[in-house]
Amino acid sequence: MTKTTTKEIGTLILALIGVGIVGYLVMQTLGGQGHAAFNTTNLGVHWGLPIVVYDYFLLTSTGLAMIAALAILFGSETFRPIVKRAAWLALAGLAGGVVVLMLELGHPLRALVAIPTSFAFESPLYWKAMTIGVYVLALLILIARMLKADWDAKALRGHAILILVLAMFITAAAGVVYGSNSFRPFWASGDIPVAFIFESLLGGLAFIYFFTYLAYAFDAEAMPEGVKRLFNGALPGLFALAIFVHLLFVLARMVNGLYGNVEGLQVWQHMVTSPLFLAEIFIGLLLPLILMLLAGTRTRPWAQALAALLVMNALLISRYEYIIGGQLVPMFKGTWAPDLLSYMPSTTEWLLLLLAILVSNAINAFGELTLRLGRER
C-alpha cells in the first residue's frame, strides 16, 4: 500500500466517521423538533442556510462539470489531468447539497415522485430538478467512459457538449428561481442567470485547485508533471479572470443597490457595512485576485491553495448574502416585522453545512481511492 493510498483511506474513514456523528446529531434534532430546529420564520426568511448550502454545492457542481466539459472540448492534453477529478467532484459536491436539501424539504420522498409526475412546465424549480436528474446520469456515464487510463478526449466530445449544456441550464435555472421575483429588487435582475454561470465557473476552478492539492496532501512535489504544468501555466490566469468577473458582478449589483431607491434595495446599505461582506470582498476575492496576478505568487502552491480556499469561502458568503438578503424585506407583515428582518442560522442549520462538507469529502475520498483521479498518465 502506497503512502498516498494510506492517506486516502484515512481521509475516507475520517469523513465517514464525521458523516456518522454529524448525521446522527442532525437526525436527533430534526426527529425531535422537526423544522422548528431551523431559524427560518413565516415573517419572511423562508429559505435559510440549508438552501444556501444546497445552492452553493449545486453551483459548485455545475461549475466543475462545465470545467470538465470545456477541458474535454478545448483543453487538449493540457487540461487532461483535471477532467476526471472535476467530473467526480461535481458529483460529490452535488451529493452533499442534495442531502441537505432533502433534510430541508417538508416531504423529501414525495418530491422524488411528485416533481417528475407533475409536468409543472411553468416552474423553474421543475426544470431545475428534472435537469439535475439527467445531469447526474450524464456525469456518471462520463466517468464510466473515463475509467480506462487512456481515455480519448475526442471520443467524449459529444458527451462533453451535453454536460456543458445541462450544467449551464441548471445554473441558469437556479438564477431564474431568484432573478424572476420582480417584487424582490435585491434578487430581481435579468443578468442573474449569467452571473450564476460565472460564479459557478469560479467555484469550479477554486475547488479543482484546492482538492487537487488536497489529493496530494498539499505536497506540490508529489503532483504529476502534467498537473504542475497546468497549475503553473494557463490555470492561474483563468482563475484570476474568473475572480475578476465575479467581483465585477457583485460590485455592479452593490452600486446599483446603493444608488437605487426601489424598496428592497436598502438591504445593500445594511450589507455593505457588515464584516461578512467586507471579508468576502477584501479577503475572499481581492486577496486571491492579487495572489493570482502577481508573478511572484501565482505559481506558488501555497498561494494557489490559499487563494482557492479563500474563494470557496467567499462564494459561500456571497451565496448566503444573496439568498438571505433578498428575503430581509418583509412582505406585508405590518408591525409583526416593522424593520428589516434579522436571521442567524441555528446550530442545526450549521450542522447541515458541516454534513454537506463531510458527505462531499467522503464521496470525493472514495473517488480518489478507487478511480485514481487525474493520475492516468
Binding site: H35, T41, N42, R110, A120, G334
Partner: protein
C-alpha cells in the same frame, strides 16, 4: 362559472381584527398563521406620527406567481370560482410559493411556535396532522388545503372554499344580509362589524362588487407584479390608504 372576488373598503375598516379572529376560528389556524390579518403600520417620525392599518387576506390572484412556481402543481388555480388552493397531498414543503408570493400570505407552520406554550404540543395530533384542536371545523379536505394541515406543507387562505363553493348556482353577491346566502359568505366578510368587506362574482357585470370597484375606483395591491389580485381595495377618503410600500416604516428606509 363565477370568478369570486373580494372588495375591502378601507374608509370603513376600523382595524378591529374581527375578520382575523373569525378566520382563525373558522379554519382552525395556529397562532401566527394569519391567513387573514389586519396589518398595522406606524408612519412618520415624532411628533408627526400616525398609525394606519391594512386588512390583508390572500389575493387569490388571476395570474398567481405561487401557482407558476410550484414544482409539483400542489398549488393550483381552481377554474370553478378562481380560488387559489393548495393540495396538501402534493405539497413537498419547498416553500418556493412563500418566496414567490408578493403579499406574504402563505405559511409553513412546522417552524418554531410564535408564542408559548406551543399549542401544537398542548393539543398534539396522533394522525400526522400538525395538531388536534378541541374544536375542529366540520370540513376536512386536504386536496384543497382545508382543515388541519399535515406536517411539512404550506397553508393559505382558501376564500372559505368550503362555504363559497356550496353557494346556490347563479348567486352573484354573497352578502351576509341575504338570509339564504349567509352560510356561504367567507368568515371574514360575514363578521365585519362596519361592513367593510364585500364578496361577489367579478365576472358578473351587475355584481355589487363590480359596482363598488367602478364607483369608488377600486385598486389592486402591487398590480405591477402582474399577479392581478381578485381582492380590490377602496380608498381615497380620509381613512387608511392602500400602502405603496410593503411593511416598513419611513424611518427604516433612510
Amino acid at each position: 362559472m363565477a370568478k369570486w372576488g373580494m372588495v375591502i373598503d378601507l374608509d370603513k375598516c376600523t382595524g378591529c381584527q374581527a375578520c382575523t379572529t373569525a378566520c382563525t376560528m373558522e379554519n382552525n389556524r395556529l397562532p401566527g398563521e394569519n391567513w387573514q390579518d389586519v396589518l398595522f403600520y406606524t408612519e412618520g417620525t415624532y411628533p408627526n406620527v400616525s398609525m394606519k392599518w391594512f386588512p390583508r387576506p390572500c389575493m387569490h390572484c388571476e395570474h398567481p406567481s405561487c401557482v407558476s412556481v410550484c414544482p409539483t402543481k400542489a398549488t393550483y388555480k381552481d377554474p370553478n370560482g378562481g380560488f387559489v388552493l393548495v393540495d396538501w397531498n402534493k405539497c413537498i414543503g419547498c416553500k418556493y410559493c412563500q418566496v414567490a408570493c408578493p403579499y406574504g400570505v402563505r405559511f409553513y407552520m412546522d417552524e418554531r411556535a410564535v408564542i408559548q406554550p406551543d399549542i401544537r404540543t398542548v393539543f398534539p395530533s396522533n394522525n400526522d396532522r400538525l395538531w388536534d384542536p378541541p374544536y375542529k371545523g366540520p370540513q376536512d379536505d386536504p386536496s384543497r388545503g382545508i382543515g388541519i394541515q399535515p406536517h411539512g406543507v404550506v397553508s393559505k387562505c382558501t376564500f372559505c372554499y368550503h362555504k363559497v363553493s356550496k353557494a346556490p348556482a347563479g348567486a352573484v353577491d354573497l352578502d351576509e344580509d341575504i338570509r339564504e346566502l349567509k352560510e356561504h359568505v367567507p368568515a371574514c366578510v360575514r363578521v365585519c362589524p362596519p361592513k367593510a368587506r364585500f364578496f361577489g362574482d367579478l365576472d358578473h357585470p351587475d355584481s355589487y362588487v363590480n359596482k363598488l370597484i367602478a364607483d369608488k375606483r377600486g385598486v389592486r395591491l402591487k398590480d405591477e407584479t402582474g399577479n392581478k389580485p381578485q381582492v380590490y381595495y377602496l380608498s381615497g377618503g380620509a381613512a387608511a390608504a392602500v400602502p405603496a410600500l410593503r411593511s416598513m416604516t419611513d424611518s427604516d428606509k433612510s
